[in-house]
């Protein structure tokens, strides 16, 4: 027997005191009211003859009454202590319930619930109801990240509401992370139980390393789900051509997870207008890829939808039947050229209608004005902490590049051909009169160099302890273009545009789509101040969420596919309000492969039963109190009938 109520000492002291009082009270002889009636001697005589009998009866009644009260005291004390059967309460267990709420849990192939998550939720609630008060339990939802609903607690009622509010996140599942979390959370906790409630979608063929679970940890996996019938758009995006930046190529990948042939229809929408329909036939487990090259679609928002047209088939997981992509509008690039006059550079920049060139003389240069790219031609004034900067032949105390003398007639010997700056061009035979000799810093990347001395190099500067806001991309070209025959070559304009592309086009800009289940780092336009601004994200579900901004980027964790709009308020006189559209997709083949699968771990046994974890709690004290109530009622009756005293 174990006790969970008031401390035993307190209970015993109370009970003892009460028992003493009860006994004392019964030792007191209760005086009856004596009523003198006429002919009392007669009565006395009658009474005297019965006295011996009554005395004995009275004594018995008193003993019985005392006993009843002693029993009542004992029962109350016992209830107060919160008794439980020995085999019922497993003291000190740490129970971690991990509930998969990744996208595949929205599959509707289950009985007794709306979807897999609904079943999982019920199973978790069953466990919650039955854990003992000595146990500590943590419930965590996991998909690509882990969201514990509370720290370890023994108050299960705290968990009920968040558990009921748990919904499916349209993201993938990172089992490794969930298992590592579980191993860390349960480490050194003694007797511990891990219960994973998941469909195991995507586990097939996965092998896990050792997660270093404690010896005493029991791992259980409740598998939910029955079928794998699903077709999915597993990839959909638009990629801009490198040279022709106005055109795109669309990529759609559809995968069937049926074990038989399926007819389906792929529809393509631009700004919600249907622009293309395609009938497709998918073999079992087929991955169907299709491309729409050289698209110059009018419209911004693209959507692909796939649906089954075979009559006898049902897609039990509709969440991945739609995918979204954006065709970003070509934005004008704001470039500042700080020079005393250089027609070569100016002329080249003016060639491109998508570039807005601002020419500034050195004494007019204003640090507070921000541009997408600033080019310094033979000058190096102080620069702000963030931005993109190109230097031609930098010198002077404010130059971020240390120099040590000059190289005359340098011959470019080493070129990183694969570097984006060198795309489509060669510099091998460029004649240069003189170049600055750079002293390289850690992290400098030499793109072209002359016998080990960099002629062109790039540098990315990130936040340090001294400069927490530092976020700069720098490119240094060691020579003055006018002191070389470079501007006479076809390669020159290409090189200048490569410079601008390298600084302004992110990898992800080529592919304008985000993935759910990741923290998106959204680059903001250059003229938006990086501090004191909170942007608002309008999600596809109509929510408005505040988004923090760090280092010129908005960080947002998205978990619903669809179109998002990020709105950045304008800061008076500095910037105007801006709005950025985003498309997000699930793009996770493992998640669309919804066939349930049992978790297996090396060196650790994973049970598929949770019965041993579930047990009914017998709250003995309730029964005891009910018994006490009944006895009190009976005793009340016997007292009033003078059966007891």
């Amino acid at each position: 027997m174990q006790f969970t109520g008031l401390p035993l000492q307190t209970v015993l002291a109370l009970a003892a005191a009460a028992a003493v009082f009860v006994t004392v009270l019964y030792l007191l002889k209760l005086r009856k009211r004596r009523i003198e009636v006429p002919f009392s001697p007669l009565w006395n005589q009658v009474l005297a003859s019965q006295k011996s009998y009554t005395d004995w009866w009275n004594r018995l009644k008193r003993l019985l009454s005392w006993l009843i009260h002693i029993v009542l005291v004992a029962l109350l004390a016992f209830a107060m202590a919160g008794p439980h059967f020995k085999d019922e309460v497993l003291t000190g267990r740490h129970i971690l319930v991990l509930i998969d709420n990744s996208a595949s849990m929205a599959a509707t192939d289950v009985n007794g619930g709306i979807d897999r998550l609904d079943i999982a939720r019920r199973k978790a609630a069953d466990i919650l109801e039955t854990v003992s008060s000595q146990d500590r339990i943590m419930v965590a939802a996991f998909n690509t990240r882990i969201e514990p609903l509370s720290p370890f607690t023994n108050d299960t009622s705290l968990l009920e509401t968040p558990l009921q509010n748990l919904s499916v996140a349209a993201t993938g599942t990172t089992y490794e992370q969930a298992l590592a979390f579980a191993a860390d959370s349960l480490r050194d906790k003694g007797q511990s139980e891990l219960l994973i409630i998941s469909d195991g979608a995507g586990l097939e063929g996965k092998s896990f390393e050792n997660f270093n679970f404690d010896q005493e940890t029991t791992i259980r996996h409740l598998k939910i789900g029955e079928r794998s019938d699903n077709i999915a758009i597993t990839a959909f995006n638009a990629r801009r051509y490198l040279a022709n930046k106005l055109d795109f190529e669309l990529f759609v990948q559809i995968q069937s997870f049926f074990d038989r042939e399926i007819d389906a229809e792929l529809e393509l929408y631009a700004d919600e207008r249907l622009v293309e329909t395609r009938q497709i036939q998918l073999q079992p487990d087929e991955i169907y890829q299709t491309f729409y090259p050289s698209q110059a679609i009018a419209g911004e928002k693209l959507e692909a939808r796939v649906r089954i047209t075979s009559r006898d088939a049902r897609d039990v997981f509709p969440l991945d039947d739609r995918a979204y992509a954006l065709l970003p509008a070509a934005q004008k690039l704001r470039v500042q050229l700080v020079t005393d006059g250089n027609l070569f550079l100016e002329g080249t920049l003016l060639l491109n209608p998508n570039i807005e060139v601002t020419r500034t003389r050195l004494h007019e240069y204003d640090v507070s004005q921000s541009f997408d790219v600033t080019i310094f031609d033979r000058v190096a004034p102080p620069i702000p902490d963030t931005g993109n900067f190109v230097y031609f032949a930098p010198s002077g105390p404010d130059s971020p590049f240390d120099t040590q003398g000059a190289i005359n007639n340098p011959i470019i010997t080493d070129i990183k051909k694969s570097h984006p700056l060198m795309r489509w061009i060669t510099l091998k035979d460029v004649n240069i009169g003189q170049s600055v000799k750079f002293r390289r810093k850690s992290g400098d990347d030499a793109v072209a160099s002359a016998f080990g001395d960099p002629i062109i190099m790039t540098r990315r500067e990130t936040a340090t302890t001294d400069q927490p806001d530092l976020q700069r991309n720098l490119i240094a070209i060691g020579f003055d273009v006018r002191n070389s025959d470079f501007p006479m070559r076809v390669a020159f304009p290409v090189f200048i545009f490569n410079l601008l592309d390298y600084l302004t086009i992110d990898d992800q800009d080529f592919i304008a789509s985000h993935e759910t289940g990741e923290t998106w780092s959204i680059k903001l336009p250059a003229d938006i101040p990086t501090s004191d601004v909170t942007a608002t994200m309008h999600t596809p579900t109509g929510q408005r969420l505040p988004v923090p901004i760090f280092d010129g980027r908005a960080m947002f964790y998205g978990e619903t596919p669809g179109f998002y709009r990020l709105e950045i308020p304008g800061v008076s006189s500095v910037s105007r309000p801006a709005s950025i559209l985003l498309a997000a997709n699930m793009n996770d083949v493992d998640e669309s492969r919804i066939a349930p699968f049992q978790l297996e771990l090396p060196d650790t046994e994973v049970s598929d039963q949770a019965e041993a974890l579930v047990f009914r709690r017998h709250q003995l004290w309730i029964w005891i109190l009910l018994l006490v109530s009944l006895v009190l009622m009976l005793e009340w009756w016997t007292y009033n009938r003078r059966v007891t005293q």
């Binding site: 109520g5 109370l14 009460a18 009082f21 009860v22 009270l25 007191l28 005086r31 009856k32 009211r33 004596r34 009523i35 003198e36 009260h69 109350l76 107060m80 202590a81 919160g82 943590m138 882990i146 969201e147 720290p151 108050d155 009622s157 860390d184 959370s185 480490r187 050194d188 050792n210 270093n212 995006n237 990629r239 051509y241 022709n244 190529e249 990529f251 890829q289 491309f291 080493d414 070129i415 051909k417 390289r440 850690s442 016998f451 080990g452 927490p468 080529f510 592919i511 004290w621 109190l625 009910l626 006490v628 109530s629 009190l632 009622m633 007292y639 009033n640 009938r641 003078r642 005293q645």
Partner: protein, 913 residues
């Protein structure tokens, strides 16, 4: 009507009781049963209370029974005391009901639980741990009696540090590097440490964490975890322990030029970071060889040390730097660095020519090309993978199969399929089928089968064996000649025709031309041949002509064996021209020095046959068999023809095919179904066919490249262009068809991206990209890239070893390997050893996120500062205790009469009534 007073009281009693009961029943039903209330929440004095089981309120419905029972009580206590008794009993029961409905109070506590999370990974020096112990002991002193303090340490995984049973904490142990987990200290996972402690806080305490770490996180996402900690009300404090950076010298990186040309010197720059001024000796190794050693003065900060070196041969290079530091250095693990590079030189072509004299034609033609041509004789085929890998193409001309072992053929096969090498076989007597390559690995590798296109007509061969039986042939020679003849007959197919002519000064025909199926009779007749007088070849040939001229065979051939001299007579003027008209060919075999070798050679030349000379008569049977085989099986077509262009390809561009001279012959073959036939002979049989085999390509040119069949070609300007283009197209193509592959390390994973963008800026899609990752241990792990967008293929692979990785991707489109990507990655030592300075920003940021501070004092850690921990408390046991007290009181008031005499007179009693 006078109402009886007692009846009135009774009626009132019943009305009140029933009304009370009905009211209770109504309230219970209205508020609890009907709405199905599970819990009731309310607030008392700013505290939230909840009733967890309100259904038990139903028990109150039984309370009126108390009054019912008491109505006819036999108790003789005063009326008011009886009323108190009923009330008390009702209160006892009410207290029990109050316990049963389970009231839960939200309570607040200001006790503090502080957990110290101490980083014990390799980058944290002992000095920090000692200071941490001091601070923790200080905090232990400062904590209040109801506060809680624990210590958790972490590196890769977190673990609890037990507080000693007596006295202060003495030390924080480093992680236990058990054999299964040797690298425990090589990682820092602060997030894991934080996750572990969520379960360690007592519930009714304020939760605080003090992190003592250098902030150099190598795994996990601490900032994300800090947000979660905040959601759970865990405050993170940052206790920064300043420490002298450990003296450390490490090789950060090596700069190697992207393209290294063999023989050209280049600079390899080692970037060495040092925390202090020091001296070090750095040795550069190239593969297994020590390249150079430099003793350098290091200054604090980044040092660039250039090694001027060169590579003499193309191929795979491993540059390894080993550094010995003279002064202080904390870790030796980061004193080496490995970088792999595949150095491409001029393309190297291995040209194996069976007929060494003829090699000049190709050598001359290619001398201006940017190939490095190495010519070897028939026996020079490479024997090892390393040897063959040095070449980008192997060209075999007229090398008989007998010169290649089975292993060498397999080597060639692997060289083409797996290593992307090129292979060309050109025709000749010892190539393709005639060379003995039927059913070998090489036939499988080439785009043609060695069965000729058309079946020969039957009987297709008429062979005459003309054997000298002059006196000089007596004895052993004649016996060997007989054996040779017998062997030749045995080698023929039944439908071939064979005859034997023996000659001395006259010619005799012991065996007339007849089907070889009469084998036993022919053989016995050969055995009976004997030796006679002089030698007259002319007669013998004349006789042969007569016999063969009318034979119905497509191939008519004479093998002439002689060991003597003979007058030429009309051999060259009449017989051979006549034979040529009838398509009769003659091969000659000269035995011994006495024979008229020059005449026999001329006969063979004019007779379009082969000339053999042997000093050893034992070779004669072998020669006969080879010759018979050559003729019998010959798929060689020796007719002049002009090649027809049958396919379009770059390799044929720029060559005036309409002006191409005649080729004089070729080996008859049949194109395999997938082969790409670019040139064909007159009858449509392939002249030039090529295809892809695995990573490499192979081509078959069925005519030759020398002065036999291509005698006109070698002088033609197109010859040189054709061969250089064919070689270029077929050879290993790493340079030309390569797609850029980027490999980055992101938290122990290699992220591999290939951008497949074609020449015309179009994206290349639907590639099957197989990557082979060579681990530092030499183990090869294959995996596939998946397409993620138009022209983009990606994969993410965990890195399990330290050292240099190389990646080779093979991109296949429609079963055709179209490109290769190579990349290498240096992961020389755990990131843990890269850090020489603490990263305070990370933990400061986390502290800010979770409303903690940096560098709090020991006292501040335990100050609740207005915060209170909220926790829920069940108060039912207190109601039970209350019931117990009330019960005792109830009993007391029954046992003790509060008023009234114990004796009353009868009169008084009557008066009362």
């Amino acid at each position: 009507m006078i109402i009886n007073r007692s009846k009135l009281t009774s009626a009132l009693y019943w009305i009140v009781l029933t009304a009370a009961w009905m009211l209770l029943a109504f309230l219970y039903f209205q508020h609890i049963i009907a709405p199905g209330t599970e819990t009731i929440a309310f607030t008392i004095a700013d505290r939230t209370a909840e009733i967890m089981a309100p259904r038990w309120f139903g028990l109150t419905l039984f309370l009126p029974i108390l009054w019912l029972i008491a109505r006819n009580t036999l108790s003789d206590l005063p009326r008011y005391q009886r009323a108190i008794n009923i009330t008390l009993r009702a209160l006892v029961l009410s207290a029990i009901i109050a316990a049963l409905v389970q009231v839960v109070f939200t309570s607040f506590e200001s006790r503090v639980s502080t957990i110290f999370l101490v980083d014990t990974s390799a980058s944290v020096p002992d000095e920090v741990l000692e200071k941490a112990v001091t601070f923790i002991n200080e905090a232990h002193q400062a904590k209040g009696p109801r506060d809680d303090l624990r210590v958790v340490a972490f590196a890769q995984h977190p673990y609890q540090v037990e507080w000693p049973t007596e006295g202060p904490l003495t030390s924080i142990p480093r992680p236990n590097n058990s054999p299964e987990n040797q690298d425990e200290h090589l990682y820092t996972d602060i997030a894991a440490g934080l996750r572990m402690i969520y379960g360690l806080f007592p519930q009714d305490h304020l939760k605080r964490v003090v992190i003592i770490s250098d902030g150099n996180e190598t795994r996990g996402d601490f900032i994300a975890e800090a947000y979660r900690a905040r959601a759970f009300g865990v405050r993170i404090f940052n206790h920064e322990v300043e420490f002298e950076p450990r003296p450390e010298v490490l090789i950060q990186n090596i700069d190697v030029p992207e393209t290294i040309e063999p023989g050209a010197p280049f600079n390899l720059v080692a970037r060495v970071f040092s925390t202090h001024d020091d001296r070090a000796t750095i040795t550069l190794w190239q593969n297994e060889f020590k390249d150079s050693t430099q003793s350098v003065e290091l200054t604090a900060g980044l040092n660039e040390i250039a090694f001027k070196t060169q590579v003499y041969e193309p191929g795979f290079r491993e540059f390894r730097l080993e550094m010995t530091v003279e002064g202080q250095d904390s870790f030796s693990e980061n004193n080496h660095f490995v970088h792999n590079i595949n150095i491409r030189g001029k393309p190297r072509i291995l040209y194996i020519e069976g007929e060494t004299r003829s090699r000049i034609y190709l050598e001359r033609a290619l001398k201006d090309e940017t190939f490095e041509l190495e010519t070897r004789s028939a026996t020079g085929f490479p024997r090892s993978k390393k040897e063959i890998d040095a070449f980008d193409l192997v060209l075999m001309s007229d090398v008989p199969a007998k010169n290649l072992s089975h292993d060498q053929m397999r080597l060639l096969d692997r060289y083409v399929r797996e290593d992307g090498g090129g292979f060309i076989m050109t025709g000749g007597e010892a190539s393709f089928g005639p060379g003995g390559y039927k059913d070998t690995e090489i036939e499988k590798l080439l785009p043609v089968t060695f069965e000729p296109e058309k079946k020969r007509e039957t009987p297709s061969l008429a062979l005459l064996l003309v054997i000298d039986r002059s006196g000089s042939m007596a004895g052993e020679r004649m016996e060997l000649a007989k054996d040779a003849a017998k062997a030749a007959v045995e080698a023929l197919k039944p439908q071939d025709q064979v005859g034997v002519i023996v000659f001395d000064h006259a010619a005799e025909t012991p065996i007339r031309l007849q089907p070889a199926s009469n084998r036993s009779r022919i053989l016995s007749q050969i055995s009976r041949l004997d030796v006679r007088g002089g030698t007259d070849i002319a007669l013998a040939l004349a006789e042969s002509y007569e016999q063969l001229a009318f034979a119905s065979a497509k191939i008519k051939h004479v093998i002439l064996l002689s060991d003597g001299e003979s007058p030429a007579r009309n051999i060259f003027t009449e017989i051979l021209p006549a034979m040529r008209i009838e398509n009769i060919t003659v091969s000659t075999v000269a035995v011994g020095d006495g024979s008229d070798t020059s005449m026999l050679r001329r006969i063979a030349e004019r007779g379009n046959g082969r000339y053999y000379f042997t000093n050893n008569p034992y070779h004669v049977p072998q020669i006969f068999v080879q010759e018979t085989n050559t003729v019998a099986k010959s798929s060689m077509k020796e007719e002049p023809f002009r090649p027809t262009v049958t396919g379009r390809a770059q390799i044929l561009d720029g060559i005036a095919w309409n002006q191409a001279p005649y080729l004089l012959g070729y080996v008859s073959t049949k194109a395999k179904p997938q082969a790409n036939v670019l040139l064909a002979a007159d009858n449509g049989e392939p002249l030039l066919a090529r295809w892809r085999q695995g990573l490499g390509k192979s081509a078959a040119f069925t005519s030759d490249l020398k002065n036999r069949w291509a005698v006109e070609w070698v002088r033609w300007p197109g010859y040189s262009k054709f061969w250089s283009q064919l070689i270029r197209d077929t050879m290993r193509t790493d340079d030309r068809d390569s797609l850029p592959m980027r490999v980055e390390i992101i938290q122990d994973h290699a992220h591999i991206t290939v951008d497949a963008i074609g020449e015309d800026d179009n994206f290349i899609n639907n590639l099957i990209s197989n990557v082979q990752m060579t681990l530092p241990s030499g183990k090869i792990e294959p995996f596939q890239l998946t397409q993620t967008a138009a022209g983009r293929f990606q994969a993410k692979i965990p890195l399990k070893e330290y050292g240099s990785y190389s990646f080779k991707a093979e991109h296949t489109l429609n079963n055709d390997t179209i490109a290769i990507s190579n990349a290498s990655l240096s992961y020389p030592y755990p990131q843990e050893f890269m850090f020489t300075q603490p990263n305070h920003t990370l933990i400061r940021r986390a502290a800010e996120i979770s409303n903690g501070t940096t560098n709090p004092t020991a006292q501040q850690l335990f100050e609740p500062s207005g915060e209170q921990a909220k926790y829920r408390r069940h108060i039912w046991p207190y109601f039970v205790a209350l019931a117990l007290l009330l019960l005792v009181l109830d009993l007391a008031l029954r046992r003790i009469r509060l008023s009234g005499k114990t004796e009353i007179s009868w009169d008084n009693l009557l008066k009362k009534r």
